[in-house]
């Protein structure tokens, strides 16, 4: 049976980071969608219904926390798991992200790209069990 590719939405304003994540995730067998701003992220979440969202915090316009609040308060998007992927490593940011409903909070400089992909894979494996 051919399994449908899992759809990942990456909300990130840095074009280089989007490029390298796309490369890695597509090679790992995912469908990879991108959004540059928080607003675009919310829009794509509604239209594309991704299986998981990777969300940066420091975004132009609406920041990642605001995006998360919007996603979690909309019945159409509230069930989409969101992993925060940010440079902000303070404990207060981490706590805030998790309390707003993020599945996980990853600090970019502390985690390798392969580890991010593995975290996402692990999440889907757990779901299947």
């Amino acid at each position: 049976m051919i399994q449908k590719k899992k759809k990942i939405l990456f909300v990130e304003d840095d074009k280089f980071l989007r490029k390298v994540y796309k490369e890695k995730f597509e090679r790992a067998g995912f469908e990879f969608l991108e959004a540059i701003t928080g607003q675009e992220g919310i829009h794509k979440a509604l239209i594309e219904k991704p299986d998981l969202i990777l969300l940066d915090l420091m975004l132009p316009g609406k920041n990642g926390f605001e995006v998360l609040i919007d996603l979690k308060s909309n019945p159409k998007t509230k069930k989409i798991p969101v992993i925060i992927l940010s440079n902000l490593g303070q404990e207060s940011d981490r706590k805030k992200g998790l309390s707003l409903g993020a599945l996980d909070y990853l600090v970019k400089p502390e985690i390798s790209l392969s580890e991010v992909v593995n975290k996402v894979k692990e999440y889907f494996l757990k779901l299947e069990k």
Binding site: F16, L17, V20, E23, K24, N87, K108, P109, S112, L113
Partner: protein, 235 residues
């Protein structure tokens, strides 16, 4: 003057935060290239990528240090204090250094008094201090001689005294006043480890003083230095 200094460290902190992102992006690119997922690399290319990774790691460390320094200078350097065993922490750090020590012909000994009480400080930051002491002792050993590092923990009144004694190149007397200042590096240290930042001991001092302890060093009779710190025992 005070205002100028504040503005300077705020700017430093912003610049350091801004640098974090490009550094982690380059790290990601290196990871993809080095994994050879997008194409095979020859040995020379692998070597150059590994060099870039090493340089990038130094940049990352400098950025982390700059952020720490800004926090120290702005009076925002805070520790997450808790009770912990300095003895267990030290044992763990020594374990982590075993391979590097062996590779550099250095032996590490650990002496401690029995029934040592726990201390009260931030175990993550104290780990950094111990790591810095030991890595300095390894890096600045006399190249031609077997390295010997003696770590000891003793109880001194209401404090534990941690010391790290080496038989390395030592520090020239004329530099003693500068040892805990920012960016200090002795000439020999720069030759032996060009990648060093000269920021570790400055941050170590802030960590120990913020814990209510003291930090210092002395020149050994034979060769090398002994760096030490004290930490208050937990009540």
């Amino acid at each position: 003057m005070k205002k100028k200094k504040k503005v300077f460290f705020e700017a430093t902190s912003i610049a350091a935060h801004q640098l974090k992102n490009p550094i982690s992006i380059i790290k990601n690119y290196l990871e993809v290239l080095s994994s050879e997922e997008i194409g095979k690399l020859n040995e020379k290319q692998k070597e150059y990528l590994s060099d870039i990774a090493e340089i990038l790691e130094k940049m990352r460390r400098i950025v982390e240090y700059l952020l720490e320094i800004s926090r120290i200078e702005e009076g925002k350097y805070k520790l997450k204090k808790e009770k912990f065993s300095l003895e267990d922490l030290t044992e763990n750090v020594i374990k982590d250094f075993k391979i590097w020590a062996q590779a550099t012909n250095t032996e590490i000994f650990f002496k401690r008094e029995k029934n040592l009480p726990k201390v009260f400080s931030d175990p993550i930051r104290i780990r950094h201090v111990i790591e810095n002491f030991i890595s300095n002792a390894i890096k600045y050993k006399k190249p031609e001689k077997k390295g010997k590092i003696i770590i000891s923990i003793k109880k001194r009144g209401k404090f534990l005294l941690f010391s790290c004694k080496d038989n390395g190149i030592g520090i020239p007397k004329k530099d003693f006043k500068k040892v805990f200042t920012k960016f200090y590096r002795s000439e020999k240290a720069t030759q032996l480890d060009p990648q060093g930042t000269g920021l570790g001991l400055f941050i170590d001092k802030a960590t120990i003083e913020e814990s209510g302890g003291k930090i210092g060093f002395k020149k050994n009779r034979g060769s090398g230095m002994t760096f030490y710190f004290t930490l208050p025992c937990s009540k």
